[in-house]
């Protein structure tokens, strides 16, 4: 019996093969040129040694973070596009990225980050949760109000960021703030990752309960409701999932654009348009996309290190133009 399954399993297999390859490549490439054999030797040699330190303290956290942040953005984007039934939705739409950025910038602005290393992710998460709560408070009655409330919260967070830059105590502080906002997964340590992981995992768990509701929304809200979907619960689940996971990811890595918008689109031609079938491939693809971009940053010979968020936008925008032009043709 022929089913229109799309190529879900093949796509997942390809992604699951590419991810370890990218992971290995990411461990092998960095500012300090170390041959792969030396890295392997470092694992076996008595610790601590240089190769092992570079791996354990720099490259592995960086790689893990790129994967986690990329997966979160891909998953959040796919879930939001499904909930809002709008291919232009992206994880920042609900204001949580803005809230996370504002929280982190407040930590930098008041110099908390220098006094206490975990201040940036902590305040970032607090900002994301506050923004998510605000969006929920004003926007829970319907899909349109949710988008509008998200836009309002994003605007508020943007105003806060501008205010921080406006009143920056020194040019150096302003520079630090803008640099952080550009987004990066470099120089994050295990303590920061450990702080954010519970929030990210909780967010993923929230989103794991949404696929059926998102599928039924394909029929519109009235039919979805008639088929047993609790719309307000579904909206709350997606908002909470995105606020927790994308908020914590943004608190770690700064604002990284386009991954959440583009990843779901890039997997649709392979797995079809049913929202539930896009979530996992989009998460895996987002992880791959961000990790490959982060590897590219390390390989590109630039004087200052190019920031991750800058490169994703640089690559993402033309690709998105191309996608807009070809969307009709690509859609099965």
């Amino acid at each position: 019996m022929v089913r229109t399954r799309g190529y879900t399993y093949q796509t997942l297999c390809v992604l699951l093969l590419l991810l370890p390859a990218a992971f290995a490549l990411s461990l092998a490439i960095g500012r300090v040129a170390l041959p792969f054999s030396e890295l392997l030797h470092g694992l076996a040699a008595p610790k601590p040694n240089l190769a092992w330190l570079i791996l354990a303290e720099l490259r592995i956290p960086r790689t893990v973070l790129a994967l986690v942040v990329g997966a979160t953005l891909g998953l959040g984007g796919a879930a939001l596009q499904g909930l809002l039934r709008n291919p232009l939705a992206e994880p920042g739409l609900l204001g949580v990225s803005g809230g996370a950025a504002l929280g982190a910038v407040i930590a930098i602005y008041f110099g908390l980050a220098t006094a206490f290393v975990l201040a940036i992710p902590l305040l970032g998460i607090a900002g994301a949760l506050a923004a998510g709560a605000l969006t929920f408070l004003f926007g829970r009655s319907g899909t349109l109000t949710l988008i509008l409330a998200g836009a309002a919260v994003s605007g508020l967070a943007g105003a806060g960021l501008s205010l921080a830059l406006n009143f920056a105590p020194s040019p150096y502080a302003a520079y630090e703030i803008t640099t952080w906002l550009l987004g990066s997964v470099a120089e994050r340590d295990w303590a920061q990752i450990a702080l954010c992981m519970p929030f990210i995992l909780a967010g993923w768990l929230c989103l794991a309960f949404t696929p059926r509701g998102l599928d039924l929304l394909t029929l519109g809200e009235a039919q979805a409701e008639s088929l047993g979907v609790n719309l307000s619960l579904l909206r709350a689940q997606v908002l909470a999932g995105v606020a927790l996971s994308v908020g914590a990811a943004t608190a770690m890595a700064g604002a990284i654009g386009f991954v959440g918008l583009v990843a779901p689109h890039l997997v649709r031609p392979f797995v079809g348009h049913q929202p539930s079938r896009i979530l996992l491939p989009s998460a895996l693809f987002g992880a791959l996309l961000l990790l490959v971009t982060d590897i590219a940053i390390r390989v590109l010979p630039t004087s200052n290190e190019l920031k991750l968020g800058v490169l994703t936008s640089l690559i993402g925008t033309p690709f998105f133009f191309w996608l807009v032009l070809h969307l009709r043709r690509l859609s099965p």
Binding site: M1, V2, R3, T4, R85, F209, R212, D215, L216, L217, T218, L219, G220, A222, Q223, E225, S226, L227, G228, V229, N230, G272, H273, Q274, P275, S331, P332
Partner: protein, 257 residues
């Protein structure tokens, strides 16, 4: 009491009363056509009957139990609802669209099994869509999409089908086919409640009619006794004459002099 019972339903929004103390009883095997002018409250009444809108007063009973007391998923299995001009939001295949109707039967985190896919196939065949099953649903014509939505509603084998203007936008042949299909479902023992604007088709196919005017039920009963020129005039402010009976009935109407 097996069937759907509306008890003194009242619905208000922003101080306006859209439905005013509407009550009737309908049973399995009946095809109830809900008639009324635009804005008479048909859609609101339909949404309350389907359990999607909560009445300000009164209640809807399904087999004697208030709808609000029935679990969402159980209600979803027992009654199907098709809104007016139902659309698809993503270009998914027709068979996947129809399969969504089985979701209330499926435990969480389970995928459709072979028996369920057979039900999808049967529903597609029942609605003459077997040849379209792999086609993206957004490329269907209006008549095909209406049939796909009907197949989606029927695939879960509900006792009760509630449809809001299922004939909207259909050409004469598809409208006749659509009505015949609904009548056949009622004949097979289901309860069908549908709002309809085509009085001739209502006269031919519906077993019962309910007539609304400005939120009030002005007439309810078997079609032959209830769809009368006087009742049509009361509902629509037109002069009507009815020729023939049963499958040959024809309702003609013109403006009041």
């Amino acid at each position: 009491m097996s069937g759907l019972q509306a008890k003194r339903l009242v619905f208000r929004v922003a101080g306006r009363t859209l439905v005013e103390r509407v009550g009737f009883v309908c049973e399995r095997g009946q095809f109830v056509a809900l008639l009324g002018a635009n804005g008479a409250g048909k859609s609101t009444l339909i949404r309350m009957l389907a359990g999607l809108a909560r009445p300000a007063e009164g209640q809807v009973l399904l087999d004697g139990r208030p709808l609000q007391a029935i679990d969402r998923r159980e209600l979803a299995r027992r009654r199907a609802y098709i809104p007016q001009n139902a659309r698809v939001e993503w270009p998914i295949a027709v068979e996947r669209l129809v399969a969504l109707g089985l979701m209330p039967h499926l435990p969480v985190f389970h995928d459709l099994n072979a028996a369920m896919w057979r039900k999808v196939e049967a529903a597609l065949a029942q609605c003459d869509l077997a040849h379209k099953r792999g086609q993206p649903a957004d490329t269907l014509s209006g008549g095909e999409l209406a049939r796909a939505m009907l197949a989606r509603a029927l695939v879960g084998d509900p006792d009760i089908l509630i449809a809001d203007e299922p004939l909207a936008g259909l050409d004469p042949r598809h409208a006749i086919e659509g009505m015949a299909r609904l009548a056949a479902l009622a004949h097979a023992g289901r309860l069908v409640v549908a709002s309809v604007h085509d009085l001739t088709l209502a006269a031919r196919y519906a077993t019962h009619v309910a007539i609304l005017r400005e939120g009030r039920l002005t007439a309810f009963g078997p079609t032959a006794e209830t769809l009368t020129p006087a009742n049509i005039r009361m509902a629509f402010d037109v002069r009507a004459s009815i020729h023939g009976t049963g499958a040959d009935a024809c309702v003609d109407f013109r403006a009041l002099a």
